[in-house]
C-alpha cells in the first residue's frame, strides 16, 4: 500500500445497481431499504459492527443469499429466481471468503482450472495457462501442485483470489478476506488486493482493515442494523464522520 490510489479511473458505466432491497432471515429484518449504485472501477469498502448485514449485502449480489424485496442488477442482468440469470451473474462475479473455501481434494492448479473448464468450457491447456498466469500474479506459481492443506492461510487466500480471477470476472466481492489470518499474512493478501485495484477491477470489500480502506478505496460505506448509515470518500469518512454511530464505531476501532 505504498502510494495512494485515488487517481484510479472510475467510469460512468454502472456495474451494480441495488434499488430498495430488503431481506429477512425468518422474521428478522437483516437488510432494510438498501440503495446502492456501483460504477465500474470503483473500490468500495463496507465497514460496520458484526451483525450489521455487510456480509449479507455482498452475498446477495451473487445470490448466495436470496433477497425478498427490491431489485439487484449486475452488469445489466437482473437477479431474479431465474437460475440462468443467477449462473450468468455468478460467472461474472468473483468472490473470496473469510475461510478461503478452497477445494481440499484438488491441487492448487486444479482448484484454479476447475471452473474455467466446467463452466466456461475452455480447453485444459488454455485453463492451465490462465491458472498459471494468475498464480504468478498472486506470487505462488511454485505451489501449483500442492494441496490447499499444505499451504499457509495467506497463501490459501491468495490462491482463492487467483481461483476467482481465472473466471475473468468483471467484479470481485471480498467477504472479510483477512479476518482469519495472522497479522504477518494479512499484508501479503492486502498487497494482492491492491494490485487488483490498480488493474482497474471493480471491488466490494467487507473488511476491518481501515488502512486498506483509506489507501485503496474510493468510497467507504458504513452499515449498522441492516442499513447504510453513512458513505463518503475515505478521507472525509475517517476525518470527518457525520453520524454519531459512525463516530462511535471509528473511535472504537481506531482507538488503539
Amino acid at each position: 500500500m505504498a502510494n495512494a490510489k485515488k487517481q484510479l479511473q472510475v467510469s460512468d458505466e454502472v456495474a451494480i445497481q441495488i434499488t430498495n432491497m430488503n431481506k429477512w432471515y425468518g422474521s428478522f429484518h437483516v437488510l432494510r431499504d438498501i440503495d446502492l449504485t456501483v460504477n465500474r472501477g470503483e473500490r468500495i469498502v463496507i465497514a460496520g459492527p458484526s451483525g450489521s448485514g455487510k456480509s449479507t449485502l455482498i452475498r446477495c449480489i451473487n445470490a448466495l443469499e436470496e433477497h425478498q424485496e427490491g431489485l439487484i442488477t449486475v452488469d445489466g442482468t437482473e437477479l431474479s429466481s431465474d437460475l440462468k440469470n443467477i449462473d450468468t451473474i455468478r460467472s461474472e462475479v468473483g468472490m473470496c471468503f473469510q475461510h478461503f473455501n478452497l477445494f481440499p481434494h484438488l491441487t492448487i492448479l486444479e482448484n484454479c482450472m476447475l471452473a474455467p473448464v466446467w463452466v466456461r468450457k475452455t480447453t485444459q491447456k488454455e485453463a492451465k495457462e490462465t491458472a498459471m498466469h494468475f498464480l504468478e500474479k498472486v506470487k505462488i506459481p511454485e505451489q501449483a501442485d500442492k494441496y490447499p492443506g499444505q499451504l499457509s492461510g495467506g497463501q490459501q487466500q491468495r490462491v482463492a483470489i487467483a481461483r476467482s480471477l481465472c473466471m475473468k470476472p468483471r467484479i470481485m466481492l471480498f467477504d472479510e478476506p483477512t479476518s482469519a489470518l495472522d497479522p504477518e499474512m494479512i499484508k501479503e493478501v492486502l498487497d494482492t488486493m491492491v494490485q487488483l485495484a490498480e488493474d482497474g477491477m471493480t471491488m466490494l470489500v467487507v473488511t476491518h482493515e481501515m488502512g486498506f480502506a483509506r489507501e485503496v478505496a474510493n468510497r467507504v460505506i458504513f452499515m449498522d442494523e441492516g442499513q447504510i448509515i453513512e458513505q463518503n470518500e475515505p478521507a472525509e469518512f475517517f476525518d470527518n464522520p457525520q453520524n454519531d454511530r459512525t463516530k462511535l464505531f471509528l473511535s472504537q476501532i481506531l482507538g488503539h
Partner: protein, 434 residues
C-alpha cells in the same frame, strides 16, 4: 567464576541407537514388558493364547482328509487314539467332498467354467473402478459386465441380455435427439420413459424373434440350481454396485429443497430402515407374486437382489448424508460462487469429499450387506449356509458342525477382510494435506 563461553570445534556424528530402542528386543521391551502390570498381563494373555491354540491346532491338523463319512472319520481318529470334544479331530473329508457344492450349489459340474469365467471377468471389470493404475480401456468391460455375467451364469439366448442392454442405448439416443428438438427437460423425460417402454414391450418379443432368426446361446440354467458362494457373491456384488449410486441419490433427495422429492426419500429411507431384511426377503419370496400379473414368472433371485439392494441403499443414503453433513457450508458456497450448477458442484466438489469422509461407513455397509446374503437361506435359496444344512442332512455327514461352518466362516472372512483392507488403502490414497 566459571567460564561461560563455549565453542564447538567438531560436529558429533550420528551414532546407532542402543539395542534396547530398536530391533525385536526393543519392541518386546517397549510393548510387552514396559512395567510390572504390563509384564503380568503379557504372561497371562500369553498363557491363554497358548492353551487355546494347544486345543485348537491338534483338532485342525487331523488326518481325515480322505474320509467319506463321519463314521469313517471317527474311526480313523479312534485308531489314532484321539478323543475329546468334537471327536478329537476335525473331519475335513466333508470339505473335500462338498467344497465344489459349497462354491457353486447345484450348478451342472460340466459348466463350472462359466461361473469361474464370470468371476475372473468380475476381477477385470472391477479393476478400473478400484485401482487408478488399471487400464482405462477395461471400463468398457465394466459397462457390459452385468449383462455378460448374467448370460454366463444363467445362459440361454444371447439376444435377451443384448436387447436389455440396448435399452441404455435407446435412453442415450432418446436424450440426445429429444434434447435437441424439445429442450433439456423433455430430453430427461425421454431418457427415462423410452428405455422403460423398451424394456416392458420390446425387449422380450425382439429377443425371441432375433433368436429365431439367429439362434446364438448357451444351455440355460434354472435359478434353483444356483447356490453356494456363487449366489452370495452374485447377490452381494449386485447389491454393492447398485446400492451406492441409489444411496447417493436418496441422500441428495433427502437434502433437497423440493418438498415432494424430499418426502418420498425420507419415507423410503425410514420405511426400509424400520423393517428387518428378513421381512423384505419374505415379501420378495411370497407376497410379491400376489401383486404381479398372474402367470408372470419373476425370477426369485432377481427379486431377492432387488430387495437386498433397496435395503442396503437406505442405509447407504444415511451414511452418505453423514458425509454431506460433515462438509463445511463454505464448499457449497465456493462452488456456487464459481458458477457451477447443482450437478456439477455435486460431482466435482461435494461428492468426492463427502464420499471420502464416508468411506468407513460405506465399506461397513458393504460388508454387512455381503454377510446378510446368508439370510436368503431362510427363504429357501441355497447360499453357503443353506447348503450346509443340506449337507448335514446327508446320512454320511449327519452330525457334522464345526468343519462346515468354520469353512464357510473362513471364506466370508477372506472376502470381508479384503474389503476392509481395500477401504484402508483407499483412505490412505485419498489423504491430502498435512
Amino acid at each position: 567464576m566459571a567460564d561461560l563461553s563455549f565453542v564447538r570445534k567438531e560436529i558429533i556424528p550420528q551414532r546407532a541407537a542402543p539395542l534396547s530402542q530398536t530391533g525385536i528386543i526393543g519392541w518386546f521391551r517397549k510393548n510387552m514388558f514396559s512395567d510390572i502390570p504390563n509384564t503380568i498381563l503379557t504372561i497371562i494373555v500369553g498363557y491363554f493364547i497358548i492353551s487355546i491354540l494347544g486345543n485348537i491346532l491338534p483338532w485342525v491338523f487331523s488326518p481325515t482328509w480322505n474320509s467319506v463319512s463321519l463314521t469313517e472319520c471317527r474311526g480313523i481318529l479312534a485308531e489314532l487314539g484321539r478323543s475329546g470334544h468334537g471327536g478329537g479331530g476335525a473331519c475335513w473329508g466333508v470339505i473335500r467332498e462338498r467344497w465344489l457344492q459349497l462354491l457353486f450349489g447345484f450348478y451342472p459340474s460340466e459348466l463350472y467354467w462359466r461361473p469361474i469365467l464370470a468371476f475372473v471377468l468380475l476381477g477385470l471389470a472391477l479393476a478400473p473402478v478400484l485401482f487408478d493404475k488399471a487400464s482405462r480401456k477395461l471400463i468398457y468391460l465394466t459397462a457390459i459386465y452385468p449383462f455378460l455375467c448374467f448370460w454366463l451364469i444363467w445362459g440361454g439366448s444371447i439376444w435377451f441380455p443384448v436387447t436389455v442392454f440396448s435399452g441404455f442405448i435407446v435412453a442415450y439416443l432418446g436424450y440426445v435427439y429429444v434434447n435437441k428438438a424439445f429442450g433439456s427437460l423433455a430430453g430427461v423425460i425421454a431418457s427415462i420413459a423410452l428405455p422403460v417402454l423398451w424394456w416392458l414391450f420390446i425387449t422380450s418379443p425382439l429377443s425371441i424373434s432375433l433368436h429365431s432368426i439367429m439362434p446364438i446361446g448357451s444351455e440355460a440354467i434354472e435359478s434353483d440350481r444356483l447356490g453356494g458362494f456363487m449366489l452370495a457373491v452374485l447377490i452381494g456384488v449386485t447389491g454393492i454396485a447398485l446400492s451406492l449410486p441409489i444411496g447417493i441419490l436418496l441422500a441428495l433427495g433427502r437434502q433437497s429443497n423440493l418438498p415432494i422429492l424430499k418426502a418420498v426419500c425420507v419415507c423410503f429411507i425410514e420405511f426400509i430402515r424400520g423393517v428387518p431384511l428378513i421381512t423384505l426377503l419374505f415379501v420378495a419370496s411370497t407376497l410379491l407374486n400376489i401383486f404381479l400379473p398372474p402367470g408372470s414368472n419373476f425370477d426369485l433371485i432377481l427379486r431377492v437382489m432387488i430387495m437386498v439392494t433397496l435395503f442396503a441403499s437406505a442405509y447407504m443414503a444415511e451414511v452418505v448424508r453423514g458425509g454431506l453433513a460433515a462438509l463445511p457450508k463454505g464448499q457449497y458456497e465456493a462452488a456456487d460462487s464459481l458458477g457451477l450448477d447443482y450437478w456439477k458442484a455435486q460431482r466435482l466438489i461435494i461428492m468426492p469429499q463427502a464420499l471420502k469422509i464416508s468411506i468407513p461407513g460405506i465399506v461397513s455397509t458393504f460388508i454387512g450387506l455381503f454377510k446378510d446374503t446368508t439370510l436368503v437361506s431362510i427363504i429357501g435359496l441355497l447360499d453357503p449356509l443353506g447348503l450346509s444344512t443340506n449337507i448335514r442332512a446327508d446320512m454320511a455327514w449327519n452330525g457334522i458342525l464345526w468343519e462346515l461352518y468354520g469353512f464357510v466362516g473362513l471364506i466370508f472372512f477372506i472376502f470381508c477382510f479384503s474389503m476392509s483392507r481395500y477401504s484402508m488403502y483407499l483412505e490412505r490414497k485419498l489423504a491430502t494435506g498435512h
